[in-house]
């Protein structure tokens, strides 16, 4: 299992469409993906779960991947977050 903290840097935060991208990406891997903040934990493959984390710009989340393709899953999701979900800001 890989676990690391990651900061949400896009301007609008982890809103529904960004969450949709994250969930779609997570869904491509067999590993379990978990995202958590200080108070709650969300299944990285559930859009409502991810949206409910209410992660605005600057929020630090803990991302963990656990399973056969955990390395690739972790890297792909991290890249997506750091790419600001392709939103450009």
């Amino acid at each position: 299992m890989i676990t690391k903290e990651i900061e949400i840097i896009n301007k609008l935060g982890l809103h529904a469409r960004a969450a949709a991208k994250l969930v779609t990406t997570a869904g491509q891997f067999s590993s379990d993906i978990l995202l958590s903040n200080s108070s709650q934990e969300a299944n990285g493959k559930s859009i409502m779960g991810v949206v409910m984390l209410a992660a605005s710009q600057g929020t630090t989340l803990t991302l963990s991947a656990n399973g056969a393709d955990e390395q690739e899953a972790f890297e792909t999701i991290t890249a997506l977050i750091n790419d600001k979900f392709g939103e450009g800001e």
Binding site: M48, A54, S56
Partner: protein, 577 residues
Amino acid sequence: MSVSCSGIGVSNGIAIGEAHLLQRGRPDIVPRFIETDQISDEVDRFRQAVAGARRQLKAIRDKIAQNTRSDIVAFIDTHLLMLTDEALVEAPISTIREKQYAAEWALQVQRDALVRVFDEMEDDYLRTRKDDVEHVVDQIQKNLTLVDEDDLHHLEGKIIVAQDLTPADTILMRHQGVAAFVTEYGGPMSHTAILARSLGIPAVVGVHEATHNIQDTENLIVDGHQGIVIINAEDATLSQYLEKKDADLQHAESLRRLIDQPAQTIDGHTVQLLANIELPEDIETTPNLKANGVGLYRTEFLYMNRNDVPNEEEHFRAYRQVVNGLGGIPVTIRTLDLGADKQIDGCNDSDTPVCNPALGLRAIRLCLKEPQLFLPQLRAILRASAYGPIRIMIPMLSTLHEVKELRQMVEDVMYSLKRDGIAFDADIPIGGMIEIPAAALAAESFARELDFLSIGTNDLIQYTLAIDRVDDEVNYLFDPLHPSVLRLIQMVIDAGRNNNIPVSMCGEMAGDPRYIPLLLGMGLQEFSMQPGALLEAKHIFRNINAGELAERVTPLMQQLDTPETAEKLLQISALTS
């Protein structure tokens, strides 16, 4: 505690009853339990509704995919993802199973839980994203309630309270025995207000915050004369209103006795009383009221509440039903008048936003530009004309060129009908609605080219005074007695007389007791109004003197711009109030 809210009374009468709050575009969710043996059916029903929502969203996405902005597509994709999400789909199913809640309620409970989380979010942008949840939930709810006709039955005797009603809403409710309408938006000339009047039920619009101040099932008094809504009235007020309501009923009873009496003034002058109708079902009331005909049959409703446009057969069946039902009195069919506040559902795939629909491509303009939309209607009208007297009325004429083009189209259709051996009335009268100031100013030339004219005052006033009739910020300026409006109306009446063709008026003004004596004095002979106003109008005609009114009104028309005239016009208005 009794609370009184005021708005604009747009349809007269008094209603006393329970409030029924209508969330716009959102079906009403009532807590309801199911039986143990219904659980699996209920879960099934819920899954079907979710699957349906998914299908509908996919269909929308497929339709718009090519040239739409990618973020809109992304929105739909997001909603599609939500429709497969446990939090939205599985949680309500557990609730149905464990608590035996009906599907709508189970979904609503989950929605409320999710929305609450959003409401607590600190980030402004993220907080507003609860819209996504609501949108998806609405989509499922719509599918759940779509075929539940029982839901409409419980509206009987209820007072509908809503932010606003669409024409489609009011149509769905018209046969449900609703007692009154109260809305937050809209003015006296909004389509909804017109419909409420045609239903003959009281309506008060422009009641700010109505859906917040009024709770579901609270007792209300709606006074459509005064534009007042009283919440939880005290006994004294209630009995006062019960008395008023009683007096109204007695007046209505005395009006009913006029049904078989002629629409004749004291001095023996007979006028034509015509009905404005919306739906084929309206034809029942019109002959019962002994109207002389239908002065305006609005055909737009054939186009509403559907995703495609009606074909020739559908048009034909509706028109034939009207003609047969009217038993020989003539019906004036207004050709397609979509646009402005009446949007067509089946052809809104245009990418260009229309900023000013009242001045845009609508009515005859749309018909001439899109013959494939118009020809089936024209052909159906002509076919129906073999079954009884029909007149064709063209809305929104602005130039004579439109009349020429229209006549050419009618000729072409007649030619093809003849070729196909289908019967029609070759002498079908073709008339025009005069509702654009330019057409009123040129009424003489239109009168020479047409078989009749009909004055559409709602639009004529809106265009003349440049006020949006559905905007409650400016509708205080809506004034049928404005000198410019009266001058234009007089021009149309005179043009008809000079050219020996009938002129009717089918706008709201024609059925308004305040303006009937004035219009008669101006020389108007045909008054077309919603059926509910016919007997009141007849009552007025039978108590006024046409000759005297003409003598009073004619000199006023020569000097419309003086304050003395304005005063005298108001006195004439006051004759009937």
